[in-house]
């Protein structure tokens, strides 16, 4: 027992040095995490990316301009016309409030940054925080060495970079930090049994709930871990302190967030936590009774409690099941259901299935997003079992569940990334630990002079890290010991050191050459990872998606800035109250950049409304005009990539419009748009396809570009080349034809008579005149 204290006394200076070193390493990791995400600013410009970030940016602008109460009560009449949207009650406010606070602090310090700049750099700042949180979490699990390695890995993991480059101003940017920090505080509470940390944990959870819908992952993972601990006989008062206050305070705090509200107690996603809450009380009660009763009496009591408990449980379960079964979706929201049953969404909810980030990932995307970590994770899991503690069992559970969820939805790769980093950090750190240890133990033999402790003079920083890590860990166990009151636990701890020394002794026999070679290989692996991450950050994930670039054969850079061109045209050439219809992908951008009212946007809360727009896009011109006119639409915006080969255009998304529209309005049938099950727009396409509004608006006058109408995305000539629009008129097409804006024509002033034969009878002169008249009044 006195051994660690002795060691501490002897090498205080070394530990101080290690602490300072790890502090600077952490600082550098923060700088790395921040700066690796700046490629997008350097290569493109300081601009908000993609779709959702534009909405968040707009909300932040509103917040900074009008204050928090107006933000809370904001009813936005410029989206979802004519329904409007209660922004304050339907948005996760964490990100907005964070950026708004940052902006406010900077401004009150007389740093005049624009809201946009603050928004652009929020994500990189928070990824630095996230790496520090990872350090803390991993340090709690496996010591500071593993913590530093994990933090360094997380700072540049591509999966996380893809969501947090400068300009990617989305919920995930702050939510990943909140997620890791919540887990850290949970583990910290579990290790210390301190109510202070338990309270902090609830507050961190509150911040997570504010930030991202992914908080349900926490509220399910932690109960799972608690259950695991109970089942494996690891129940302790620390576990109770870590869990019970967290559930009570966390649920109360979560209910304060308007978008969650009563969902915190009424939807199935949260039921697991309450069930485990009941179980942990029962278990705690059992342990208490066991402590005060004699073994004989205890047996009797167990019988009593089990019978009563079973009855109560059955009753509660029956009530719960009845409640849940009475709701149409069985109490689960569509997104959560698609997590459990991956085929659910594509079967029942086209609007969820239509989003590319809700699709299951492909194998290459694992390699792309977590790279070598995928190979290190198993090693990390093994390391976690040597020995298994409460904390390490938690990270094992975390990695297992997140691997499953990432397999369901590409987006949740983001949740996997920290877990993979932690595991890989543990694996790398343990490996380095073993190798450097064996080198260190053999070096004295080789040099024949120095002692074990003098190894630090020749060792690399990695060794220093690991030493520091090891020391801190022993420190932790030393701290833990007095706080443990459970007698059973005490026994385990006594077992631990002997087991550990045995393992160390066994591992120490690694030959020196093998160790050096292995270290070199590991460094090479790390280098490969770094190279890949930098490449991913620079090339793959930095494009803002509103500005596209392409390299011409001679090496020149060609910039496609069509989106902003179109939005600028809208904001300068249309009335303030004009309504613009487009597919929902472009809703956020239209409201944020063009400041025009849209019918649907990326917050897909009203399926019927989206289906209405989908139906209009899939209908013939006249029917579409009537639908749009009934919604007071003035302009229709379509995105068309056929000229420059931009693949994510509306024609490629069109089948989803048909599906979503057909889901609500059955007269739209998907087979009508498919020829023998194939989606095509060439001369083999079905008449329904060739006459629908989306086809017409996309390909109107397209044949004038090259004389053939060759679509570079579909790699085919279009089916119907020459046609006129009768109910719509083209008002603007961007430079590369990527965005085309049409205006609805007003109803014609006069209704023409029926006499059509008259036309053929008339002399040639008048008929030519009539055709001229028709050109000017093409209504009919």
């Amino acid at each position: 027992m006195a051994d660690p204290e002795n060691a501490m006394g002897a090498t205080t200076l070394r530990y101080a040095f290690g602490n300072v070193l790890s502090f600077f390493i952490l600082l550098l990791i923060g700088v790395l995490a921040f700066s690796i995400r700046l490629f997008s600013v350097i290569k493109y410009e300081s601009v908000i990316h993609e779709f959702d970030p534009y909405f968040n940016y707009r909300v932040t602008q509103f917040l900074t301009k009008n204050g928090i109460y107006d933000f809370w009560n904001w009813f936005d009449d410029r989206t979802w016309y004519p329904l409007g949207r209660v922004i304050g009650g339907t948005v996760y406010p964490g990100l907005t409030l964070t950026a708004g606070t940052l902006w406010w602090i900077l401004n009150s310090l007389n740093v005049p940054l624009s809201v946009e700049t603050v928004c652009v750099f929020t994500a990189p700042i928070f990824s630095a925080f996230a790496s520090w949180a990872t350090y803390l979490l991993t340090k709690e699990v496996k010591g500071a060495g593993a913590g530093l390695t994990a933090a360094a890995l997380l700072a540049m993991v591509p999966s996380y970079i893809s969501r947090s480059v400068a300009g990617s101003y989305d919920n995930e940017a702050v939510a990943i930090f909140a997620l890791i920090f919540t887990f850290y505080l949970y583990i910290k509470t579990l290790n210390t049994g301190s109510l202070f940390y338990a309270t902090l944990n609830a507050l961190a959870y509150f911040y997570m709930v504010c930030s991202w819908g992914g908080y349900t992952f926490i509220i399910n993972l932690i109960p799972m871990h608690v259950l695991l601990c109970i089942v494996t006989g690891r129940y302790s008062s620390r576990l109770y302190i870590a869990y019970a206050p967290f559930v009570v305070l966390g649920t109360l705090l979560a209910a304060l967030v308007p978008v969650v509200g009563f969902n915190a107690v009424m939807t199935s996603e949260h039921f697991a936590s309450f069930l485990v809450f009941i179980i942990i009380h029962v278990v705690a009660f059992v342990y208490y009774i066991k402590g005060i009763l004699s073994p004989k009496m205890f047996k009797v009591a167990v019988m009593l409690v089990i019978s009563v408990g079973l009855a109560v449980c059955c009753a509660v379960m029956a009530i719960l099941i009845a409640l849940v079964a009475s709701s149409p979706t069985k109490g689960w929201s569509g997104r959560s259901l698609s997590l459990l049953d991956p085929t659910y969404a594509s079967k029942y909810i086209p609007i969820i299935a239509s989003v590319s980030e809700h699709q299951p990932p492909t194998w290459p995307s694992y390699f792309m997003d977590i790279n070598v970590l995928a190979f290190l994770v198993p090693a990390g899991i093994i390391a976690c079992f040597l020995p298994l503690s409460d904390a390490s069992s938690f990270v094992v559970l975390y990695i297992v569940t997140s691997v499953y969820f990432s397999g369901v939805m590409v987006r949740l790769m983001l949740v996997l990334a920290p877990a993979a980093c932690i595991m890989s950090g543990i694996a790398l750190s343990e490996a380095f630990h073993v190798f450097t240890r064996s080198i260190k133990f053999q070096l004295p033999g080789l040099l024949g002079s120095s002692q074990v402790d003098s190894g630090d003079a020749s060792s690399s920083t990695v060794v220093a890290q690991n030493d520091a890590g090891k020391v801190e860990k022993t420190e932790d166990t030393a701290k833990e010991r007095p706080s443990k009151k459970n007698k059973k636990k005490e026994k385990e701890i006594v077992d631990k050191p002997s087991l550990k020394t045995k393992i160390e002794k066994r591992l120490l026999v690694l030959p020196l050459e093998a160790s050096i070679f292995a270290i070199l290989l590991l460094v090479l692996l790390g280098a490969f990872y770094v190279v890949h991450c930098v490449w991913a950050a620079a090339e793959a994930y930095s494009a803002p998606s509103i500005v596209l670039t392409s390299h011409s054969p001679d090496g020149g850079l060609h910039v496609f800035d069509d989106f902003r061109e179109a939005y600028a045209w809208l904001s300068h050439n249309t009335e303030v109250d004009d309504k613009v219809a487009s597919w929902w992908d472009y809703g956020y951008q239209t409201t944020a950049m063009a400041n025009r009212t849209v019918i649907v946007d990326n917050n897909t809360w009203n399926n019927t409304h989206i289906a209405t727009v989908g139906t209009a896009m899939s209908s013939p011109e006249k029917a579409a005009w009537e639908i749009f006119n009934s919604l007071d639409v003035k302009y229709v915006l379509v995105v068309f990539g056929g000229l420059v080969g931009y693949p994510s255009d509306d024609i490629n998304k069109f089948l989803w419009m048909v599906r979503i529209g057909g889901g609500v309005f059955p007269h739209i049938k998907e087979p009508d748009y498919l020829r023998d099950g194939h989606y095509r727009i060439d001369s083999q396409a079905t008449p329904t396809m060739l006459n629908c509004l989306m086809y017409k608006l996309s390909y109107y006058r397209f044949v004038e570009t090259d004389g053939k109408g060759f679509d570079r995305v579909r790699r085919t000539e279009i089916g119907k080349k020459h046609f006129k629009l009768t109910h719509f008129e083209e008002v603007f097409t961007t430079h590369h034809w990527m965005v085309r804006i049409y205006k609805l024509k007003p109803p014609k002033n006069r209704i023409r008579g029926k006499a059509k034969k008259l036309k053929s009878k008339t002399s040639t002169t008048t008929s030519t005149k009539r055709s001229g008249a028709n050109k000017r009044n093409p209504w009919h």
Binding site: Y69, W72, N73, F75, D77, Y81, P82, L83, G84, V86, G88, D577, T597, S630, L631, P747, K748, N749, R750, I751, R752, G753, K754, A755, K757, L758, K759, K761, T762, S763, T765, T766, K769, R770, G772, A773, R776, N777
Partner: protein, 436 residues
């Protein structure tokens, strides 16, 4: 010049006002271009022309094939109305053609088209573009063996004494037209689905359209009251068009001749033509039935300013002023059937407006318990009147977070329960900690 440019921008609803400022040399006159086949029409239809002149119109007579014809100069219309008394013209002179005539109408100007048995394709196609189909048989005329006008030439049943007039005080004036209207010309029909065109004078059920000089070989295509003798069309921009198959209906001869329906015993000394044509021309040239709605106002009950947004369940006042053009000035329009809708995809509130007889219409109602972007809509479409269609967008927001009730009476048991739990826990802790 400034007035000139403004007048282009403003819509037809203010046309009568603007016309006074339209031609700077004679501010009070409205200018009408009359195209004739022959200048003799000028004297043969002088009563009609004089009635127009006496009402302040400035008539400009031109031959239909005058090579200097032009409706507009430098992008501005020279005339406010066009009268085509040139049924046989195959081609207008000058810059005028079918498209120019239609553009004239589409920019909100009025048109009178009179055809007769010699109607050219040009005239017929103008009519077709306005929703009126003349009989395709070029030699056909309207024949009625029962309701023909008794005349000197026995057996001529193409001169018809029609009395099937549209029942509308707005279009035909308040004074009832007693005498039948003499008509001699070709038939036309209107598509039933056409909501803009109206039959003002229909033929009797016994009429048909055929060549009077040949034997009827096949059943006539147009028969009975499907035949329209005089039709009007009010375009969506409120331009008014009158189309008739008889040029003679405007003639002095028909105006002054006596009329006796073959079926009835009553003989009228004077036909109804003059009254009919004069009243109808008043309607065509917007001297009657032209409404405007101004000063759309709404505010919360008890407040005066118009809010940018309402809250659900607010009480609000809505008012609008509606006036009718009398030919000289705007007079208050009085009706009891003007309604306002509070509309979001469908009307949530539909309320009849009460009037103060001075043109002010008013209603107050409660905003429904639904938030969204609503519109105040007044859709007033009545026979003969210009259509009033105005909408004003107004968002309706839900309650703010502090507009709900802080304490609900029904929840008092729950408040009690939570405070009791807190107190119980406190006492329990106290007893547990210090009772040893």
């Amino acid at each position: 010049m400034e007035k000139l440019s403004i007048s282009i921008l403003l819509t037809i609803s203010l046309l009568p006002f603007l016309c006074s400022s339209f031609s700077p040399e004679s501010p009070t006159d409205r200018r009408i271009l009359v195209l004739l086949d022959d200048f003799s029409f000028k004297s043969s239809h002088s009563i009609f022309f004089n009635s127009l002149k006496s009402r302040g119109f400035d008539l400009d007579f031109k031959l239909a094939d005058d090579p200097k014809l032009a409706l507009q100069r430098y992008g501005q219309y020279l005339y406010d109305g066009l009268v085509l008394f040139s049924p046989s013209v195959e081609r207008f002179g000058g810059a005028l053609d079918l498209a120019a005539v239609l553009d004239f109408v589409d920019s909100g100007h009025d048109l009178i088209v009179a055809a007769d048995a010699s109607a050219s394709d040009l005239i017929k196609s103008i009519a077709t573009e306005c929703g009126v189909d003349f009989d395709e048989d070029p030699s056909a005329m309207v024949i009625d063996h029962k309701k023909y006008a008794v005349s000197e030439i026995e057996g001529d049943h193409t001169l018809i004494a029609a009395d099937d007039l549209i029942q509308s005080d707005v279009i035909l004036g308040k004074t009832k037209i007693e005498a039948p209207v003499l008509f001699k010309g070709i038939a036309h029909s209107i598509n039933v689905a056409n909501g803009l065109a109206l039959k003002v004078l229909s033929a009797s059920p016994s009429a048909y359209s055929a060549n009077p000089n040949s034997k009827l070989s096949s059943p006539p295509s147009l028969t009975g009251s499907a035949i329209s003798l005089v039709s009007v069309m009010q375009a969506r921009n409120n331009a008014r068009i009158m189309i008739t198959g008889s040029l003679d209906i405007f003639s002095n001869r028909f105006f002054t001749s006596s009329v006796q329906n073959a079926e009835s015993k009553i003989k009228y000394d004077k036909s109804g033509n003059e009254q009919f044509v004069t009243e109808l021309s008043k309607w065509i040239f917007h001297e009657r039935g032209h409404l405007k709605a101004v000063n759309v106002r709404h505010h919360k009950v008890g407040e005066a300013d118009e809010p940018a947004m309402y809250r659900i369940k607010d009480d609000l006042d809505f008012s609008v002023e509606i006036y009718e053009w009398s030919g000289k000035s705007w007079e208050p329009y009085v009706a009891d059937d003007v309604q306002v809708q509070f509309y979001m995809m469908s009307p949530y509130v539909l309320k009849t407006l009460s009037t103060d007889q001075k043109g002010l219409y008013h209603a107050s109602f409660k905003v429904p318990d639904v938030y969204g972007v609503f519109q105040f809509k007044v859709e007033y479409q009545r026979l003969g009147y210009t259509s009033l269609s105005l909408s004003k967008q107004i968002p309706v927001r839900p309650f703010r977070h502090n507009e709900y009730e802080r304490f609900i009476t029904t929840a008092f048991p729950y408040y009690g329960a939570s405070f009791a739990t807190m107190a119980g826990f406190f006492i329990f802790s106290f007893v547990y900690l210090y009772n040893k």
